[in-house]
């Protein structure tokens, strides 16, 4: 059901695009599918439109601000996200870029991602790797929030076997758990191998905002803007546009000749 609108738009646009180097996913115009009706539909389509990054292998994730720009009613988005999270369809992660950034990943993608990381770590040396299995089976299943306390983590892991400090440090080295700055007893759940992408995210946001701010009237038509490529970010323009529109830094307005993107003043 959700593949249909995407493939139809891809089909009509692809015939017009000559540039073969352009990604197949970027061939559909953002203007056509900027908004969706349902949160799950929006999540699945945005997951399919996740840009392919060469050097880093990462499963698709969606930022919460992208969802806000895609579905009209934000309260509905929050409530549906909450129920999907409780049904263990997806997981939320707090990111360290900016104030209220959250990343949403489908649970299957997340499990695939951490499996990749665990496999890579296992190849290096033979040190207590059963903690990975414990983590997947016990912790991910029962703890659905973005953060976890040290005692609770140990108690959940010990359902699999005896927990030592080296187990926790393996998890931290793998990147699935990050110590919180404010409270040494609390950890955030995190997506491993996401560091370079987050850096690219922050730089791409700055680049896009400065690109628009440098213009005389601080605005640009969406059709021209989405064809530009960002130099500092491995993520594509559409990803950044959805994110910045959802977080309120950019505004869209309807004009007779299409959508226009403006930098919003406070």
């Amino acid at each position: 059901m959700d593949d249909l609108p995407e493939s139809s738009s891809k089909g009509t646009k692809r015939r017009r695009i000559d540039d073969s180097a352009a990604d197949a996913a970027t061939s559909s115009s953002l203007q056509d599918d900027l908004t969706f009706s349902d949160t799950l539909v929006a999540l699945q389509i945005m997951r399919a439109q996740f840009p392919h990054i060469d050097k880093v292998s990462i499963q698709p994730f969606i930022l919460k601000s992208q969802l806000y720009s895609s579905v009209k009613d934000r309260t509905q988005v929050d409530r549906e996200l909450e129920s999907l999270r409780r049904d263990k369809v997806l997981r939320l992660f707090k990111l360290n870029t900016g104030q209220d950034d959250h990343a949403i990943m489908f649970l299957d993608d997340y499990v695939k991602q951490i499996d990749q990381v665990f496999k890579r770590m296992e190849g290096k040396k033979e040190v207590e790797f059963e903690v990975f299995g414990w983590f997947k089976n016990y912790v991910l299943d029962s703890k659905l929030e973005t953060g976890i306390e040290h005692e609770e983590l140990c108690s959940l892991l010990s359902l699999g076997g005896k927990v030592k400090d080296s187990h926790i440090s393996i998890l931290i080295n793998a990147g699935v758990i990050i110590r919180q700055l404010i409270d040494p007893n609390m950890y955030w759940f995190a997506i491993p191998n996401i560091g370079t992408i987050l850096k690219g995210l922050a730089q791409g946001r700055n680049e896009l905002i400065s690109l628009l701010s440098r213009r005389r009237y601080k605005e640009m038509m969406l059709a021209t803007l989405e064809k530009k490529r960002l130099r500092m970010s491995p993520l594509d323009m559409r990803f950044h546009l959805r994110d910045l529109i959802g977080s309120g830094h950019l505004r869209t307005d309807h004009t007779p000749s299409g959508l226009i993107i403006r930098v919003s003043k406070d």
């Binding site: 806000y68 009613d73 934000r74 309260t75 988005v77 929050d78 409530r79 549906e80 909450e82 129920s83 409780r86 707090k94 104030q99 209220d100 929030e145 973005t146 953060g147 919180q180 700055l181 404010i182 409270d183 609390m186 977080s247 309120g248 830094h249 919003s264 406070d266």
Partner: protein, 424 residues
């Protein structure tokens, strides 16, 4: 035309008076803009920190500023008219500033009226003092010394058996000061850092004859609610107190919400929220400080604004987050802000940097944006009687936002001063 028809319906009994007044009020509420007929001449030389109109008459506006000055304005009677009687200017009735004996030495962070009458007002300041002033003589009657800077003071609007001032200070404990005796009555502890805002509940719950009501207190690092007992003459009443927490100086804090459960009596009409996030999950509510709190007038919901630029609506009875998403982009992070709600709980007025945004309470959509201040807005107060919004900002101004008054009506009727109409 529409209004005349509604008046006639009310006369004939087709429209209930209550509904008629609600319709007029909500139409006026949606027409708010920078007032074209009212102006406050602010005598303050520092940023406005707090505004409050007295709860008994709705007539006197108390404003507190960062230059240690406190002023009172008459909202209904102007001191002079300009532009041929079209614009009413309100000067302050009196100003208490640093020259005054026993006045505050540093910024006054909050000034509230005594809820029973306008004879007293209470000010809290960064000079670690809370002063209780007599309005008529502008003298300090009672003085409390706090261990740290006072961020907010609050008195319960419903209390008949106690005269307690709740003080939120830099210190981790919230102190309840008794005006009648001049001593500290209670100390509420549980926070790990300074408390930035405090609010009393607007619905006095669980009145019991004797004994204590059990309350489950969950440990939290952000938002704490505790029940305390104040026994008086054989009857035990308990009021719920909500406090919030300031963020730690380094790093960003992740805060959790605590739920104090007090079984309530009687049927309560509740809105059902699908997918309500329960704070029992110890999920973080605000990443960072809680900068402002407001309890709705029916006492059922609590609004909290945080330095993570989110505004959240909590259901007080169940302690759950209703997950209404308010489209706030940026909120002030270093100073406490004062939120305002309309009485029928449909609109929330939030100071967002230089603008004040009005949100619909239940859907979270922005209904209006009020741009007028030159610098950050710190506090706002909604006057229910006249449907006017007063906002104070760091630009030292108090702005009035009201439904527009048609100039043509005024011109025909003449000057709105107090004149005898039978002697020309």
């Amino acid at each position: 035309m529409h209004t005349w028809k509604q008046i006639r319906d009310r006369e004939f009994g087709n429209l209930r008076p209550h509904r008629f007044s609600n319709r007029i009020k909500s139409r006026r509420l949606s027409d708010l803009q920078l007032s074209n007929h009212k102006d406050f001449l602010s005598p303050h030389k520092g940023a406005l920190n707090s505004l409050q109109v007295d709860l008994t008459e709705g007539r006197y506006l108390l404003s507190a500023a960062a230059d240690a000055s406190v002023a009172v304005f008459d909202v209904q009677r102007p001191t002079e008219y300009e532009a041929g009687g079209l614009i009413s200017k309100h000067r302050c009735l009196f100003l208490v500033d640093k020259q005054h004996q026993l006045a505050h030495k540093y910024a006054v962070s909050s000034a509230v009226w005594y809820p029973v009458d306008t004879g007293l007002f209470i000010t809290g300041s960064f000079d670690h003092h809370i002063n209780v002033w007599d309005t008529n003589t502008t003298q300090v009657v009672v003085n409390f010394k706090m261990p740290g800077k006072v961020y907010r003071t609050a008195m319960s609007p419903l209390a008949t058996s106690h005269m307690l001032v709740a003080a939120a200070t830099e210190d981790v404990q919230v102190r309840l000061c008794d005006v009648a005796s001049g001593a500290f009555a209670h100390t509420l502890s549980g926070h790990r850092d300074g408390v930035m805002s405090v609010e009393w509940s607007t619905s006095n719950q669980s009145r019991t004859q004797l004994g204590r009501r059990p309350s489950v207190l969950k440990r939290s690092t952000m938002n704490k609610e505790s029940t305390f007992k104040s026994s008086s003459a054989g009857q035990t009443t308990s009021a719920k107190l909500r406090v919030a927490q300031k963020k730690l100086p380094n790093g960003n804090g992740s805060r959790q919400v605590v739920v104090g459960r007090v079984p309530a009596k009687g049927p309560i009409k509740q809105r059902l929220h699908p997918g309500m996030l329960s704070t029992q999950d110890r999920a973080t509510a605000h990443y960072g400080a809680v900068t402002g709190l407001k309890v709705t007038d029916d006492g059922m919901y609590l609004l909290s604004s945080g330095s993570d630029s989110r505004l959240r609506l909590w259901d007080i009875e169940s302690g759950c987050d209703t997950l209404v998403n308010f489209e706030t982009v940026r909120l002030q992070t270093n100073k406490p802000i004062q939120l305002a709600t309309s009485q029928d709980s449909t609109r929330v007025f939030v100071p967002c940097m230089r603008t004040v945004k009005a949100f619909d309470m239940w859907s979270g959509s922005t209904s209006a944006t009020f741009r007028g201040h030159y610098e950050c807005v710190n506090s706002c107060w909604f006057n229910e009687q006249d449907q006017e919004l007063y906002t104070g900002g760091s630009d030292r101004q108090i702005l009035v936002w009201s439904p527009p008054r048609l100039i043509s009506d005024e011109m025909e009727e003449g000057i709105a001063e107090d004149q005898d109409s039978w002697s020309n």
